[in-house]
């Protein structure tokens, strides 16, 4: 089946009117996608630590049980941290969603095929790990339903959003890790977060 969803539009739909959603993005394309949708201090875009996006989301979700946390990452990044789906399944954080924007490619390194191109089904892995909801998203209606689930339902929630393998313009977030951390904590915890 040919993938039809476009990554920038899909991420823009998921983040539109995001209210107080906390967002962690895996390195590479998903970090650029969330920035294209509108940079925010409550974005934590990664520039490294490949394979760790979902775990940062878990630590944040457990620390902030009253806030919804969305991890947006790529298929290659998720594959590198597949064990974290099992770790999240054990913890059952109700406020955590992990959404993989799956273009079946390593987009930053020459568009080489990832395991998902050969049919590895990440949604089934997440389901087997105990995610409350685990969906494969292929069209606009399913994407709208996913958006509603992220903002309303009890998790942990997982989705594998199949998108066109395409090169899109780079929209880069700040890259100084200290600044990304400090602005996030200030926006979430208040002015005094790093002054005490």
């Amino acid at each position: 089946m040919k993938n039809a969803l476009r990554r920038r539009q899909a991420v823009e739909i998921l983040l539109r009117e995001r209210k107080d959603l906390l967002v962690v993005a895996g390195l590479g394309s998903t970090a650029w996608d969330i920035t294209a949708a509108g940079d925010s201090p409550l974005n934590f875009p990664l520039w490294g630590a490949m394979g760790n996006a979902a775990m940062i989301g878990l630590g944040l979700a457990l620390a902030q049980p009253k806030r919804r946390v969305l991890v947006l990452t790529g298929d290659g990044e998720m594959l590198m941290g597949l064990g974290s789906l099992a770790t999240i399944g054990v913890q059952q954080p109700r406020n955590l969603s992990v959404v993989v924007i799956d273009n079946e490619r390593y987009g930053e390194t020459g568009m080489q095929a990832t395991h998902t191109a050969a049919g590895v089904d990440l949604a089934k892995v997440a389901q087997a790990c105990g995610f409350k909801l685990a969906r494969l998203v292929r069209n606009g209606a399913q994407l709208a339903a996913l958006r509603a689930a992220i903002y309303r339902l009890s998790g942990p929630l997982f989705a594998q959003v199949k998108v066109v393998a395409e090169k899109v313009p780079l929209v880069l977030p700040p890259r100084d890790g200290g600044i990304l951390k400090a602005r996030f904590r200030k926006a979430l915890l208040g002015e005094a977060a790093d002054l005490d």
Binding site: A49, N52, M55
Partner: protein
């Protein structure tokens, strides 16, 4: 002094640690049990040690202090993720039970155990060694102050001399 794990637990409580990621190790058995039993703490079993680097980073972003328990063989798994800790100046408190030191019976543990301090220091982690049971809790206390007060990654290496040397005979008799 056999209750050094209890002393570590009290030190973590006093330091305000509320999330503890761990990959089990025999040397951390008692401490893990104490953390799991504590309703104010979230003990998170990890499938591999580098998950704990992300977990602690996420916790800090959310205003919560974390600690990470592992044995020395897991340190190598953390290396690339530690680049994030350093770049973002995330506090990190690692409590590492050592293998591959004096009297080790498993040769496969020796390379990583011997390389542990070098590897951590190469990634900018401050290393504190605790070589006696009495030294462990004060060392963890100092490490927690350095980590959370000065936004540093700090590892406490708990010597194999304290934990005891495993042998095939010991394991067979359990």
């Amino acid at each position: 002094m056999k209750d050094w794990p209890d002393a570590i637990y009290k030190t973590l409580k006093d330091a305000g640690v509320r999330q503890v990621g761990y990959v089990p190790d025999a040397g951390h058995k008692r401490l893990i049990e104490l953390c799991l039993a504590d309703k104010e703490m979230r003990a998170v079993v990890l499938s591999t040690e580098e998950e704990g680097i992300g977990l602690a980073a996420g916790a800090w972003l959310g205003g919560v202090r974390g600690a990470l328990l592992m044995q020395s063989s897991g340190v190598g798994n953390c290396i690339n993720a530690l680049g994030m800790t350093r770049e973002c100046r995330f506090p990190l408190l690692m409590l590492i039970t050592m293998r591959g030191q004096k009297g080790e019976f498993n040769p496969w543990q020796v390379p990583m155990g011997q390389a542990t301090p070098t590897v951590l220091e190469a990634m900018g982690v401050v290393v504190h060694e605790a070589n006696t049971a009495e030294a462990i809790a004060p060392t963890v206390d100092a490490a927690a102050r350095l980590a959370f007060g000065s936004y540093q990654a700090v590892a406490v290496l708990i010597s194999q001399a304290v934990i005891g040397i495993k042998s095939f005979q010991d394991q067979a008799s359990r």
